[in-house]
């Protein structure tokens, strides 16, 4: 890649930051060139983000319908899936799946709630609620 081929697409995913790429200058020597983004990379990143957002939105609707607990919503909102949350928390998947049901979630102790809240980096009060539903 030559330095004038380094994309400068002002990707939204960079949030104004610039990343370094290695490219050749006019004499063919490698130099570091700052890039403000590449549309190709941005599309892939946004796709991955959108996937979690879609899952979180599905989960949110399920919580509103009282089919799932807010835990499921916060898991996807934190860009985790079930295997990852199980690995991060050390809690078996079937137990997490159980905690995603409203009747089991409501019986979690303060300590267990705090454990989940710490993983998602939110407070217990936030863990118990979802956007669009004050309770």
């Amino acid at each position: 890649m030559r330095f004038d081929q380094v994309p400068q697409d002002n990707s939204s995913t960079y949030a104004g930051h610039k990343k370094v790429l290695y490219a050749q200058d006019a004499a063919g020597h490698y130099v570091t060139v700052q890039s403000s983004g590449w549309a190709v990379e941005e599309a892939a990143t946004c796709d991955a983000v959108a996937e979690y957002e879609a899952l979180a939105e599905q989960a949110r609707l399920a919580v509103l319908a009282k089919a799932q607990s807010p835990l499921l919503y916060h898991m996807y909102r934190s860009r985790m899936d079930l295997p990852l949350l199980a690995q991060v928390s050390g809690i078996w998947r079937w137990r997490i799946r159980r905690h995603c049901k409203p009747q089991h979630f409501s019986r979690l102790t303060q300590k267990q709630l705090q454990f989940y809240a710490d993983i998602f980096d939110i407070s217990v009060a936030e863990l118990k609620t979802i956007p669009g539903c004050p309770a």
Partner: protein, 328 residues
């Protein structure tokens, strides 16, 4: 502490290059990367990240630091902690002594990262070089400028759990070698790298791994949504995760060029040119992947597989050339 922040393409090679440079041995990021024989390719279907197979364009985390230091004779001390409080105390003590410290952290808990980039990736490296009350002065090699991070966030990032858990890993350069014999270490690094790329015993590593991924793409099943996630995942592993472009191929080409200058070797210079061409090919591959993601059938999975096979064969040629070169 006077610590020169250098923006780098990749976190691990950037951190170790700036730590070694700070200790008194000037080293560029491409040299750190190349001398660690860090370029690789692996497609591991059994290890899943967010439901997708692991695709790596370089050696696993920590291999760059370990490989480089072993080859150059730089001594680096590593410490892990079972207790976050002890980890924070050890970090404070080292920083107060005036030593820059490398840390392994999770990207997700670092507040200065752009929101879209915050995924649960546990092997991000950065340097802490100072402390002011409850804030750390952090030189994150993939950012333009040094940043400050509150201790609460940094501790959380150091002790994140999950795959590749950092467990508070911190490392420091202890001693440097008296001199470096580039005429010896450069061929040794290249020889080792050829071995990984051409002669790995598993069909999922090196050039054979690329061919394997190409077959996977050709036989891609599922609806467009699933295919899109998989193809997008390849692009992200190749371009987004701090690679300096084309899955580290440009970084390696830069190493070959610098080596050519050091050893006054024309063959290496031409290998650098060839590796650049390979990198351009990978960039074109990423472009067509995204076109296929945006619209099913725009390129077609078979054409994509062919393209990847083209990259693989072109790269294999460069490695065979380097293998012959390093044998002499």
């Amino acid at each position: 502490m006077n610590f020169t922040h250098t923006q780098s393409a990749h976190c691990e090679s950037g951190v170790i290059a700036s730590l070694v440079t700070h200790a008194g041995l000037p080293l560029s990021e491409p040299m750190a990367f190349g001398l660690a024989n860090a370029l690789a390719f692996a497609y591991i279907p059994l290890v899943k990240l967010a439901g997708q197979p692991l695709i790596a364009y370089r050696l696993p985390p920590r291999f760059i630091i370990k490989g480089l230091c072993k080859r150059l004779g730089v001594k680096v001390s590593f410490r892990k902690f079972s207790n976050p409080v002890m980890g924070a105390e050890a970090l404070n003590a080292a920083v107060d002594r005036g030593q820059p410290v490398g840390l392994q952290t999770s990207v997700y808990y670092l507040p200065y990262f752009p929101e879209e980039m915050r995924f649960h990736f546990n092997a991000h490296n950065l340097v802490v070089y100072g402390r002011d009350g409850d804030n750390y002065a952090v030189s994150d090699p993939v950012f333009e400028e040094p940043v400050t991070v509150a201790s609460r966030h940094l501790n959380k990032a150091r002790f994140a759990r999950g795959p590749l858990a950092p467990k508070g890993l911190m490392y420091q350069v202890e001693s440097l070698p008296d001199k470096i014999d580039y005429a010896q270490v450069i061929p040794a690094a290249i020889r080792k790298n050829c071995k990984v790329m051409l002669g790995a015993p598993l069909p999922i590593i090196g050039i054979r791994g690329m061919r394997y991924m190409s077959r996977k793409i050709a036989r891609l099943k599922g609806d467009h949504h699933e295919q899109r996630l998989f193809l997008g995942h390849i692009v992200r592993m190749q371009e987004e995760i701090g690679t300096g472009g084309a899955g580290f191929r440009f970084l390696y080409a830069s190493f070959l060029q610098e080596s050519a200058g050091l050893l006054k070797d024309e063959a290496l210079a031409s290998a650098s040119k060839k590796m650049t061409d390979v990198g351009d090919e990978w960039r074109a591959f990423a472009l067509s992947l995204v076109q296929e993601c945006k619209q099913a059938g725009a390129v077609g999975t078979h054409a994509l597989a062919e393209k990847l096979l083209g990259c693989a064969e072109k790269e294999a040629e460069v490695w065979r050339f380097l293998q012959d070169w390093s044998r002499v």
